[in-house]
Amino acid sequence: MAKGMLVDLTKCMGCRGCQVACKQWNQLPAEETECNGTYENPPQLNWNTYTKVRFVEGQNNGNFFWRFIKTQCMHCKEPACASACPVGALYKSPEGATIYNESKCIGCRYCMLACPFQVPKYEWHKALPTIKKCTFCADRVAAGKKTACSQTCPSAALDFGEYDDILKKAEDKITKSPDRYINHVYGKEEVGGTSWLYISGVPFDKLGFNTSLPNKPLPHYTWQALSKIPYVVGGLAVALTGFWFICKRRDEVQKTDNK
């Protein structure tokens, strides 16, 4: 059954153990750091960094806050990337992971354009590059294990399990502690729902989440156009043949009249 992950932002302490675990499990090389005024490191998600904790400082209701937000592929229920891919190199597994098969990929990067979270990253340095992104540890999950990040999380900020249980947990937490959490499970409705869910004490727009996303799954927007193709083809075939016949006939009639 489909898995889910709950990220409780009130519990994350910014240790970044998840980043290290992810690099270890996926055997990704370390990256040279650069100082950008925060404790964040490495600078951004890219071809060899599938997850990264963002550090956000700000004010909410006059109170100072410092929060740590793990970012990675959200594993949408109806992924825009998978619907965009012309060769089916990206697909949704029954376990809920959005998986990339590099042997099919042609490198058009429409998935990167389509992703509302700007997650798929590219090997820009390679002559024949592939897409890189979080795999939801599909290999570990298939073997009955937790994802590497949630396995390593020491503060129980990451909770991995069956999607339905995870969603229920998120909602229960909010109901039980309305003072601790704002009443919003990020990822429950956004772009039709994502396998990764976030709960927080600070409004999501103050934490750099994209809160203007539609609740309609993005593939539905393109399907509205694609689903009309049969009618366009049929209609045009009939109309064009009709016009051709009428115009030809008119010409013939004119010629006979002239005679």
Partner: protein, 395 residues
């Protein structure tokens, strides 16, 4: 006429520039295929599509729109006077598609996998539709131009007869495929409602792309007639050109009404006048590429003058390129939270692809019978009586 075209030289001061551009493009290509897209372009993880998609592919396909438009006029609506410009229009469309495919080879990360489109179907992808339309319509265009090649190599027999017999089905297939392809390039951006600026994002994007492709197709045919007349010493058929101009007025009107109507219904009209980069680029695109040529073409004096027709068609072509660049690059910057300006190597490849197209057209005119030889010079400002055309084969 025939002799005139045989005398076309492939090495002249002008074409040497084209050859040099192609050489530069080839060197950059070598660099791109050894060092990667990161070293050769300014594309990045936040901005995966740039100039090669915006200009070479999106604009390139639209500029090839003259092919199906003129084929429809001649074969479906039986407007015989346009027969004279059919072959050059088909040739331009075919070369345009070849240029798009070449440019795509630079842009794709794994161009050697392009054939995957044939066997790995994913019909929920707009890119799947785009890929199939390119494959099928290029084939149709090749078949539509093939009589010129078959004539040349004296293979006029059975093969030519077969192709001739299938003229109408081929033309109808070409129009359907073009309609799908032009509109699907707009549909590509339907999946980014949160990224594409509200000035351009609308569920009607496919319709906008289709109508503007017809609009620019007509302008391109006009533009090309002028270039050919200068380059190949051909007479201009003013009658044909002012007919095209009248058709352009209609399509420009339809496009303006659609675009401005849609914007006012969606409430994005105001954002065009706020002095933002997006707003100004839109005003430029709409003002110079649609409204100004519309005003010019409505004036009978302009329609009757060669210079006026040339300028207005040039404006429409420029406006279209601006529109496609706006949708795929300018309109996507803010929503992607990205910055992007093409590298010199991206410019070099685009220039090389265009240079290649121009040279290929020249070569085709030299060796094949692209311009029908029965035309007569146009009398000044007087409509030509339509000659009873010898049925020059599909196009």
């Amino acid at each position: 006429m025939q002799n005139n075209e045989k005398a076309i030289r492939l090495v002249t001061p002008g074409t040497i520039v084209l050859w040099l551009l192609i050489l530069l493009g080839a060197v950059v290509a070598l660099y791109r295929f050894t060092q990667g897209l990161g070293a050769s372009t300014n594309l990045n993880d936040k901005f995966p599509w740039g100039m090669w998609i915006g200009i070479d592919v999106l604009s390139g396909v639209a500029l090839a729109g003259g092919g199906f438009t003129i084929a429809a006029a001649v074969y479906i609506f039986n407007l015989k006077k346009y027969h004279a410009i059919l072959r050059p229009a088909i040739l331009t469309a075919f070369l345009g598609y070849v240029m798009v495919i070449v440019a795509l080879m630079f842009d794709l990360g794994k161009p050697h996998n392009i054939w995957h489109q044939i066997i790995m179907w994913q019909h929920h992808s707009v890119m799947f539709e785009v890929g199939w339309c390119v494959m099928l319509y290029s084939t149709v265009l090749a078949l539509e131009f093939s009589p010129a090649v078959l004539e040349k190599f004296k293979m006029g027999g059975g093969l030519l007869k077969i192709i001739k017999a299938f003229t109408i089905p081929l033309v109808i297939a070409g129009i359907i495929l073009s309609t799908l392809h032009q509109s699907s390039l707009g549909s590509l951006f339907l999946i980014v409602p949160d990224k594409l600026h509200a000035i351009w994002y609308t569920p009607l994007l496919p319709v906008m792309f289709f109508v503007s492709a017809v609009m620019v197709g007509l302008a391109m045919v006009t533009f090309e007639a002028f270039i050919s007349s200068k380059t190949f010493n051909r007479t201009l058929e003013l009658d044909i050109l002012s007919g095209l101009a009248k058709a352009q007025i209609v399509v420009l009107l339809i496009y303006s009404a659609l675009k401005l109507g849609d914007m006012s219904v969606r409430g994005s009209l105001a954002s065009a006048f706020q002095g933002t980069l997006e707003g100004n680029m839109f005003l430029l695109e709409m003002g110079l590429g649609v409204i100004l040529p519309l005003i010019l073409l409505v004036l009978p004096n302009v329609r009757a003058s060669r210079g006026g027709l040339f300028i207005s068609s040039l404006l429409v072509v420029g406006g279209l390129v601006l529109n496609r660049t706006n949708v795929s690059v300018i309109g996507m910057l803010e929503g992607s939270n990205a910055s992007y300006f093409p590298s010199w190597m991206e410019f070099a490849v685009t220039a090389a692809v265009i240079a290649g197209g121009l040279l290929a057209f020249r070569i085709a005119v030299k060796y094949f019978n692209v311009f029908p030889s029965h035309e007569k010079p146009a009398q000044h400002n007087r409509p030509n009586p339509v000659k009873n055309t010898v049925p020059v084969l599909v196009p």
